[in-house]
Amino acid sequence: MYNLKKGLFMENISDLIKLIVSSLVDNPDEIHITEVKGDSTTVYELKVAKDDLGKIIGKQGKTAKAIRTLLGAAAAKDKRRAVLEIIE
């Protein structure tokens, strides 16, 4: 029961990433998010089109930082950690 709930929640985080990222990039079709689950940490690997990489990272990583903070808060609700990795 508990695991099921957790599973549902993690899916939601992927959705959250997708929602934010897709409204920032030019090619929303080329977004790929994969989850790698650990004991207490989940790593989200985000792949976007090469031209959109800069938009996701932002000036001095400002956008990436903002997305990560948002994820952190979303995961903290479930007492888990979330890490966002942007893959080139």
Binding site: L16, L19, L70, A73, A74, A76
Partner: protein, 229 residues
Amino acid sequence: MSIEREFEGETVTDAAIEACKELKISRDELEFDVVQEESSGVLGIGSRKAIIRILNKVEKQENETDSSINSLDDNLDIDVQSIEKIFKEIVNHFIGDTNINSELSGKNILLNLNSEKDLGFLIGRKGEMIKNLEFLLSKISSKQVGKSIYVSININSYREKRMEKLKEKVLETINKVIAINRPLSLNPMNSFERREAYLIIEQNTEVIYKTKEYGKLKKITIFPKDLQT
């Protein structure tokens, strides 16, 4: 509508400056033909003034800017709805359905969120989450409209409470400075918060302030007046 006018000056540049003043336009907008170039002559004999001819297009340009403002307004009306929707969806990931209302003034959008639930995590430590959300939403909306838009978020009137606290803190510091007759610094603040602080400090004639860079933010130091003379 175009009017042709001529201007005179010691040099072509002088004439152009004169024309700018007269027509109230910037140098970049000025288009002119040189009718006669300046000539200093020999010992003042045979000197000529520069004459330029202006094609006055001011009126036309004003109309253009008017129409562009109107079209921006139209865009924004549509935009507020979609921004509200995105914000709603993000918030729904944290807490179920919430009522959000949005206000629009110029290029600023204010999103009001009210709920009886605990929204502390949406505010974050020292409003960190709010700032991040504002940043992301501003970016998203600017992308949609193609012009820069600023989104502010108010959660359970957090803004008002924070301002209240800030004002208290500033007043307290001013009183302390006067009491101990020594300068004291406030925490680093952003421009919006500093503005509020300045307004309060300026009301008090016994103190003055100085501002210093502190990373991305700036730090205000309050001095007693007689110490600084």
